[in-house]
């Protein structure tokens, strides 16, 4: 408990976690609002085209529950990962990590407590924002463009509650990567490029790439979040969650082993 108290004070007494939180809120709700507004205007022009007697050759974009929360699941969680990675890399950067390990010689408990704290806070925040984002998008889209956004059935609800679970795991991944690399720039670059770029590159590798895709960690996380992205999975969303969790556990476990062995 004393380690938790210490980490809580650390987290709340510098400004950057607060700014990251603001960014997560703005991204989560802002993107939901933009999505709703653009869906409504697109639907409006579709109706206008119908009314003027020349039926358009496209279907209107009707965002789903999963679409309405991409601001949280996509961008918000990325910012959360940056915040979690910085929580450990900034300690390395300023040498503060030595003060930390002097106060708390059990290095594993430092990493686990830090991750738990940011993970629980991030999960709670992202759950509230997911719900908020859904209602904002629905309200902005209006009844017609928002007709597909209905919180009914397992898949629709999973789009909401999968986000805090995903966010929680991502925090452990980010702290693990941060502890392994010890450098803010390197850790942030890796954590951003990996889900945003590296995994989608496999699309370019033809049939081999497509065979590998269902085994990539973030692709599996997306499957759990309800956005399989056209990948042909060998298993369902819950196995995908386990797959992603196992991947996070391996990275985080490796970081504990390395940090324990390494000179601080």
């Amino acid at each position: 408990m004393s380690v938790l108290a210490a980490e809580r004070i650390k987290l709340t007494t510098t400004k950057s976690p607060w700014w990251c939180t603001v960014a997560i809120v703005v991204l989560g709700l802002g993107i939901a609002a933009i999505l709703g507004i653009s869906a409504r205007s697109a639907y409006g022009s579709y109706e206008n085209a119908l009314a003027s007697g020349n039926p358009p050759d496209f279907e209107p974009f009707l965002p789903t529950v999963a679409d309405s929360v991409t601001g949280v699941s996509g961008f918000g969680v990325l910012v959360l990962m940056i915040m979690a990675a910085l929580a450990i890399t900034s300690e390395y950067r300023f040498g503060l990590i030595r003060t930390t390990f002097q106060a708390i010689p059990s290095r594993a408990s430092v990493l686990v407590t830090k991750s738990l704290l940011i993970g629980v806070v991030g999960a709670a925040l992202s759950f509230v924002l997911a719900l908020g984002g859904f209602y904002v998008a629905k309200a902005m889209a209006g009844p017609d463009a928002g007709q597909a956004m209905v919180l009914e059935g397992g898949d629709a609800w999973r789009s909401i509650y999968s986000i805090p679970i995903y966010a929680f795991l991502c925090v452990f991944l980010a702290v693990g990567v941060g502890a392994l690399l010890r450098q803010s720039a390197a850790a942030v670059a890796l954590l951003l490029l990996w889900p945003l770029l590296v995994e989608s590159l496999f699309n370019l590798f033809g049939s081999i790439g497509r065979d590998i895709m269902p085994f990539l960690p973030f692709t599996n996380a997306n499957n759990f979040l309800g956005a399989p992205g056209g990948v042909d999975f060998h298993w369902g969303p819950w196995v995908s969650l386990l797959y992603f969790a196992a991947f996070v556990a391996i990275v985080f476990g490796a970081s504990i082993v390395v940090v324990n062995k390494r000179d601080a």
């Binding site: 950057s16 300690e91 300023f94 503060l96 002097q102 106060a103 010689p105 000179d263 601080a264």
Partner: protein, 323 residues
């Protein structure tokens, strides 16, 4: 009590700390002395469980650091005053440290007052001057009211007022019965602060003795003597088997002689036997710096490229404080 046994740290092919064994006792300030790069900081980091020793052990109150519960209540250490988050206030920095070791939050204000930082407690630590940072580090070390205290080069970069303040502070801590280990590359500073000296060079133990013993044994003691019958005295001393030389100082106005490795008693006896009048008879201790140089001269890690410049380089390595 700090007990270091056979402590060794190898970085690649280089042994930064080589089979060090010493004990730091409570109640006195123990100086940990050596030229830059001698392995002082590495030794202290191993004592604190930050670096893993290649072999050997370091025990604090009989236990390895990493096995201490709430270690800040047993050991307070200031190894680097800059090991803080620059955007966190001094007070918040101490608050998380206190919380991590079950120290009441009220103690934070106490130590801030103790080191004279109450006024700036809410300011960011990153904006502190070196002197203020050192005080903050000291506050962190004192937070848990520990029995054992370790400071690595605490007076580095401080103004004379700060140096005197820290020196008195450490002596007070030792007088309270605590174990105090202070590292420095400045022998003159250690001579004023410490009672006991552990001297290392290139990671090896050179000397472990009281400051007085260190000076007595390490430095040459010579005798300076003046006489109106200087030539008679010179031959008398030489025939007694003593090495005699002229005083080195160029501004020496009155003629004098210096007899190496002798005592005032011996010289006085010789003069009396030859009925030579003496105007001055005084023993001269080599300075602490000379003693230190003599002991560690071969152990300075980073010599200049030019071997003939060794003596000068050594002096420079000591931070110029030896002059």
């Amino acid at each position: 009590m700090i007990e270091v046994t056979g402590l060794t740290k190898q970085f690649g092919a280089k042994k930064a700390v080589d089979d060090l064994t010493f004990t730091v006792r409570p109640g006195i300030v123990t100086g940990f002395l050596g030229p830059n790069g001698a392995g002082k900081s590495t030794t202290m980091r191993m004592i604190l469980g930050l670096d893993q020793p290649t072999s050997g052990t370091a025990l604090i109150e009989g236990r390895p650091y990493r096995e201490l519960t709430n270690p800040l209540q047993t050991v307070g250490a200031l190894l680097d005053a800059k090991w803080v988050h620059p955007n966190r206030s001094a007070k918040a920095h101490l608050q998380w440290m206190a919380a991590s070791n079950g120290i009441p939050a009220s103690r934070v204000d106490e130590v801030l007052r103790l080191v004279g930082l109450s006024e700036v407690a809410k300011q960011k630590a990153g904006g502190f001057s070196l002197g203020m940072s050192q005080r903050l580090g000291l506050a962190g070390a004192l937070l848990g009211d520990p029995k054992v205290l370790m400071f690595d080069e605490p007076v580095n970069g401080l103004d004379p007022e700060g140096i005197v303040w820290i020196r008195k502070f450490m002596q007070r801590l030792a007088a309270e019965g605590r174990t105090v280990l202070v590292s420095s590359h400045l022998l003159s500073e250690m001579a004023l602060t410490a009672e006991h000296l552990i001297v290392i060079g290139r990671g090896r133990l050179i000397s472990d003795s009281s400051v007085q013993d260190f000076v007595d044994h390490a430095s040459e003691s010579s005798v300076r003597v003046r006489s109106p019958q200087l030539d008679a005295l010179r031959s008398a001393l030489t025939s007694a088997g003593l090495t005699v030389r002229e005083p080195s100082a160029v501004d020496e106005l009155k003629p004098a002689l210096v007899a190496a490795n002798s005592t005032t008693e011996a010289i006085g006896d010789i003069a009396a036997r030859h009925q030579i009048v003496l105007h001055e008879l005084s023993s001269q201790h080599g300075s602490l710096e000379e003693a230190f140089m003599k002991l560690t001269g071969d152990d300075v890690q980073y010599h200049g490229a030019d071997d003939s410049a060794d003596a000068r380089t050594t002096t420079d390595t000591m931070g110029g404080a030896l002059r």
